[in-house]
């Protein structure tokens, strides 16, 4: 084997490679190692070897404690008797479903209930009823507002002072024409 260039793969880099391979590394470290691996074959090979190890470690099957041993333990502890009371049933349900996550699960549940209540019971903005007078007035005002808009365009047409919106229509105007006609009326 050739003597390795000690500057290439120093201890720090090895530590980083291991960190990235095992999934511990921060984002910057990850990019750094991946970049290094992309430009240096030796680093890439080292990285791949570690990744292979990690993959195998994480796929290891867990051994199971045998049932006879559990029975034996139960006999030596609880006496092997299962209580059939309602409280035990509820407790079993609680522990088995929530278990160690009882507190965060309860907290999450509370947040969801509060959020759901807020969404359900908040004042509906879409359901307000208006009187006939209100509707008629609103209709009139809407048209009047549109009229103001229409007048602004009409006045522009008359005075020929126009700033063009779209580059595609950026062309000189004949005094008799008004480009907004093409925009507004659809040409």
């Amino acid at each position: 084997m050739q003597k390795k260039d000690s500057n290439k793969i120093d201890q720090k880099l090895i530590d980083k490679i291991i960190s990235v391979a095992y999934g511990d590394a921060g984002l910057f470290e990850r990019f750094y190692v991946l970049w290094k691996a992309s430009i240096d074959k030796e680093i890439k090979n080292l990285f791949d070897e570690f990744k292979l190890t990690v993959k195998t470690v994480r796929k290891l099957k867990k051994e199971e404690v045998s049932d006879p041993l559990i029975k034996l333990i139960n006999n030596n502890t609880t006496g092997g008797v299962q209580s059939k009371s309602f409280i035990s049933f509820i407790s079993k349900f609680f522990y088995n479903i929530l278990g160690n996550r009882a507190i965060p699960a309860t907290a999450l549940g509370l947040i969801l209930v509060i959020a759901a209540s807020f969404l359900i019971f908040k004042e509906p903005s879409q359901q307000r009823k208006y009187s006939k007078v209100e509707i008629e007035l609103a209709e009139k005002q809407f048209k009047q507002t549109l009229a103001i808009v229409g007048r602004a365009f009409e006045n522009a047409e008359k005075s020929f002072s126009l700033e063009i919106l779209d580059k595609q229509v950026n062309k000189k105007l004949n005094k008799g024409y008004y480009l907004v006609n093409n925009i507004l009326i659809g040409g």
């Binding site: 999934g23 470690v57 994480r58 796929k59 290891l60 099957k61 867990k62 965060p104 999450l108 947040i111 959020a115 807020f118 969404l119 903005s125 879409q126 307000r128 208006y130 209100e134 509707i135 007035l137 609103a138 209709e139 009139k140 005002q141 809407f142 048209k143 009047q144 507002t145 549109l146 009229a147 103001i148 808009v149 229409g150 007048r151 602004a152 365009f153 009409e154 006045n155 522009a156 005075s159 002072s161 126009l162 700033e163 063009i164 919106l165 907004v180 925009i183 507004l184 009326i185 659809g186």
Partner: protein, 198 residues
């Protein structure tokens, strides 16, 4: 034992989910506020123009506009089509007097600076001895028009500040505007004609 890897990350995932959920809730709550819409413009303090002569204020919110869209007696389908995309229509109209004309013009210019600085596009600019009129639009990333502003002074001795928020079909609005060519806003009076009780 891949489960083992997942279990450590699951704890972090729950934390991130809770944080995300919190911000999502805040966003959902904030979404009702039309003033957060990109097409919304705050014209600032217009109260000083509410002199002894006429003033009209129109505020039609999304609720009212969608109700209008459903039950309006207007036969023109274009009106219905426009209404459905809108979230807010507001207009302030003031009668011009010798006292307030220059201030109104200054207001129009300041709104012009504000909008030009905030990526609005001015598509109409009219200048003459008698009047000033500007029309602006706001577009989203998909080039849809999501806001329209009209500022005018001098048109029939009135000054108007209009802001329409929502998905706007400019062609249709312009056409309809000509159609409803009402010379004056009705009911120019001392009282504000507010349709929204909010």
């Amino acid at each position: 034992m891949l489960d083992n890897v997942k279990s450590r990350h699951a704890g972090k995932a729950v934390k991130y989910f809770l944080i995300l959920f919190f911000f999502l809730s805040v966003t959902l709550i904030a979404q009702d506020d039309v003033s957060k819409e990109p097409g919304y413009v705050d014209f600032g303090d217009l109260a000083k123009f509410e002199g002894s002569t006429g003033v009209t204020e129109v505020i039609l919110d999304e609720d009212l506009l969608s109700t209008l869209a459903e039950i309006s007696t207007e036969e023109d389908p274009n009106v219905m089509a426009i209404l459905k995309g809108l979230k807010l229509v507001k207009a302030n109209v003031f009668e011009i007097s010798d006292d307030n004309k220059s201030e109104l013009e200054a207001k129009v210019n300041s709104i012009d600076s504000k909008l030009m600085g905030a990526n609005w596009k001015r598509i109409v600019k009219t200048r003459s001895d008698e009047e000033i009129a500007n029309v602006y639009i706001k577009q989203n990333s998909k080039k849809q028009i999501v806001g329209l502003v009209v500022t005018s002074v001098g048109d029939d001795d009135e000054a108007a500040f209009v802001n329409i928020v929502g998905t706007i079909d400019l062609a249709t609005i312009g056409r309809l505007g000509k159609q409803f060519n009402i010379p004056h806003l009705d009911g120019v009076n001392h009282q504000k004609e507010k349709s929204d009780e909010n």
